[in-house]
Amino acid sequence: MIGFDAILGSFAAAFHYESIAVILGGVLLGYIVGVIPGLNRAVAIAIAIPLTFYMSAYAAIAFLIGLSKGTAAGSAVSAILLNTPGEPSSAATCLDGYPMASSGKPRKALKVGLLASVIGDLLATLLLIAVAIPFASVALKFGPYELAAILVFALVFIAGMAGGSFLKGLAAGGMGIVLGTVGLDPETGAMRLTFGYAELMEGVPILPLVIGTLALAEMFVQLDEYRRNKGASVIKLGHQADDDLSYREFKTTLPTIFRSTGVGAFVGALPGLGPSVGAFMAYGLAKRGDKDPESFGKGNPKGIAAAESADNAVIPASYIPLFGLGIPGSVSAALLVGAFMIHGIQVGPLMLRDHPEMLFTLFSGMIVASLLMLAVGWYGLRIFAKVTSVPPHIVIPVVIFLCLAGIQVQGYGTFGLITVFVFALFGYFLKKFDYSFVTFLVAFIVTPMLEMNLRQSIILSGGEIGILLERPIALVFVIATLLMALHLGWSGWRHRARRRATTNHAD
């Protein structure tokens, strides 16, 4: 276990100017990406991973975490000034942000959004640090039975909670499992589903998969949408006297920010729910709990504060299952696992044992990122407001180029380019037909871990399923998985029946 001096040392490393420069780069890039409508966090991380190949492991992960946090804060700018959320999770910010900006107070709206984002993010980061380490210490005591049961439970949970149809979520999980088994079988050394390609021996390369399914597929979707929705008007920042945030006004939003951070952190800690659920849930609660709910949707600063603090609290909280159990609960967490893998680090409870300094330096880097978010957002307000007017027809070709360049620079060659194209087709299918992408990606990432734990469990038990009765934690998760699957199936059926009854009634 790491000592207090080492923890202090980790903090000192995170506050070193080189480290700050890397995180600042990530936050700045994330902010710009978040501000540009159509580019989202997943796209940004996917095309930034190749840039991190030549960084140290810590610098790479800190850069990506900074990027992830920056996009969450930056997306509020386009939501407020353009009524177009940079991220789907900022849609709740549009509800009050745009009306407030339209009424001549864009600067005030942006500052409320920024402060709420930073407070939400910082508090959730502190929660992550407080919870993940004890969580990981307990998880280190788990054996293969428990880990296999928890992984299956997490997959079913994510499939059910990621939104859309439970059946489609599970089917996407099945696709991820099949793709996750490609490559050399660790026990027999047999080639699995490689079709004779040596490039697939170590599994489907994560970079072409991520760039294809997330970034390139998203650009194809954007091209389709651009045809239908050209041009939107941007609200410019002016010099109105009453368009600034006073401390008294900010103070009135603080209780909402704290409550919504709690909601966001809770939602983030549950794998699969994502920031959109957190933001809308916090917005709904703030509206219901307010003395004047009618003012929501018409430019109430509490509406912006609720949505933004919850949205930003989800990101650090979603790393709790990642660092605690090794289970990525969101797309960005799954992408971080990919980045960790590229740098030869196994993320999860083992990090606490094998790389504790790295873990603590990352946590301190997250706090640095939160503080940098405030500085970047506060002083860059005017510049970011201008970035919102970059039209999508300029962004799309550049991002497509970056996708192909990322693959080429990494030396994947023609095989990589074809792979990225095939996965772009696959990602386009998932998006268009609303199959849960997060379930697919998480299943793909955790399959090797699931396979290893299942194999060890079978060998240790001699194929005897009754051993589960001697492993109460594993048994609890197996039963919980079955109950959850039944509950999700049943509630889906009831939801459809209710909708049918409503339609018949309306007819």
């Binding site: 089917a171 099949v178 996750g180 589903l193 180029f401 192909l404 620079v409 037909f433 299943a443 399959t447």
Partner: protein, 149 residues
Amino acid sequence: MTRKNFWSGLGVSAVALLLLTWVIPTYGGGGFSFGLPPQLLATLGAWLMLACALALTLVSAIVLRRDGEPFIALPGLDHLWHQTWPFLYVLAFIVLIDRFPLTWVAPALIAGLLLILGERRWHVVALTAALPTAGLYGLTAHLMRIGVV
């Protein structure tokens, strides 16, 4: 959405069937193992796909039939073309990148797409095409100098 669910369910079921009957048995690997046979997890994944996709198809078919909606509604050729051309465009450039360096092809890739999307200001086209290419050129030159590429 119901029709989309029906057809996507059917498509996923077909892929899962192909995986279960041909791909996994032929290319899934073999050999003696103590614990988990090499094909087991992939087979379970494919069964999961098949079961869920079949259930989705069945449920969607029942809803479509009850609502009296047609199972087939072909999209217009114009719509189909708008969905297809970006893929063909990128594929054509992948073929070009296979034959020429990316730094040569990149300006054409970016400028071509800008022109297709309606940008007519030459300085915007030129700068948008040149800047990322110059960045890539600089990065490649740097990586070659430090011996990575």
